[in-house]
Symmetry: C2
Subunit: 244 residues, 2 copies
């Protein structure tokens, strides 16, 4: 935890969600273990399954961001990624019950928060509007927040902007929706690559260290670390730094 | 108050806000009285001023909906409407302090809820996702909700859809963002015209009677009344009807 180097506090906080607020890997592994057992494939290690599902995330969004297709919600991409992963594991998704597949893809709506997230966001919300700046779609964010007991002031980010991070439009549209200049908005994220893109758009930045996001393995963007305006090892620690 | 005639409950509730949730007329009159006094025009009756400001609302949005200009946030329209109204009252807005004018236009961010709104929405939120389906822009909704203590699960409606009600896109995009078919979403509104447009898109409808929205005067859309799925004289009464 370092002291803030920011000259002035932001006017609102925008949160990355997958990894920063919720522990996608443990949640997806836990749910996938159940689904894999139902289809008699308990031989597949569920954390590996979660990692492989997530690994398809950047290429799937790149298809949208590169203009090969129009904007589609992350729900659609999650389902396509699941189907492709099952194929790779010699499982034919067309042979599975449609309701089971839909429920499996929907596991991303049920991700559990890190232990400090609910309390940290609630404390930060006493001083700042708090919004999502996630690639997750609106209904995914709403379901997750209601389940976890997180209160957001607005769900912004990719679906609102119709552009996926790290495209500048995702960051800039979120600031604009809040009536703020980019430098008045602070992105809170565990990923250096996300923070770097936000900084490139003029946003302030707060890094949250989540060493267990990849089960203890080195983060793929570890080399992109910079000296962020805020840096903390939890959202409650960030709240303390910000005087909430 | 009538019994619900709906065959099945909705999966989410989308709220009109101006008039349904907040008492725009009293709030704008109260704030305008202060601003009018500051510019030595206390001769202008503040409720008349509020009514005249609001009367410019439909024509201003019609310019956007009719395609004469691209989508602009309601904040911009509110400011343009204020400038035009001041001109009509022989007040030159260019001669006033910019900060005073900006603050006056911002009065729409500070509208006060009806006495039953905060409790009613909180009760309804225990059973249904609750979102805004207002023509108000995101930052206006966020400021108003934080000030009033209203918790929304998402801010949807005109700015998200980039279309003003009663254009079908405003209703349909809100349902789509929630991952719902139109008939699974219920609009909660005090205006028959709004409910009629929502029904035309397939949404369910809940009418909230707000006889004091126009200071006791007849509502301009009183003749558009229909037999709505739900009908109540407050949001707490609606919550009771819906079993919350």
């Amino acid at each position: 935890m370092t002291e803030p180097t920011a000259a002035r506090p932001p006017k609102a906080l925008a949160f990355d969600v997958f990894g920063t607020v919720v522990d996608w890997r443990s949640s997806i592994a836990r749910e996938s273990a159940t689904f894999l057992a139902k289809i008699d494939r308990s031989d597949i290690e569920p954390h590996d399954f979660a990692d492989q599902w997530r690994r398809r995330y950047l290429p799937a969004m790149a298809g949208v961001s590169g203009g090969q297709r129009g904007f589609v919600k992350l729900d659609i991409l999650h389902r396509e990624m699941l189907d492709a992963l099952l194929h790779d594991l010699d499982i034919d998704p067309a042979a599975l019950e449609p309701a089971l597949l839909a429920n499996w893809a929907d596991a991303w709506h049920r991700l559990a928060p890190w232990p400090d997230s609910v309390a940290g966001i609630a404390r930060l919300r006493t001083a700042f509007p708090v919004v999502t700046l996630s690639n997750g779609n609106v209904s995914l964010m709403v379901d997750m927040a209601r389940r976890a007991g997180i209160i957001w002031d607005a769900i912004l980010g990719a679906e609102y902007a119709r552009a996926y991070k790290p495209q500048p439009a995702a960051y800039l549209a979120t600031a604009d929706a809040l009536g703020l200049a980019p430098q008045e908005l602070c992105l809170v994220a565990s990923h250096h690559s996300d923070l770097a893109a936000a900084r490139g758009c003029g946003l302030m930045t707060a890094h949250i260290d989540r060493p267990m996001e990849y089960g203890g393995a080195r983060a793929p963007d570890a080399d992109a670390a910079q000296d962020w305006e805020y840096s903390a090892d939890s959202l409650t620690a960030l709240a303390a730094q910000m005087g909430c």
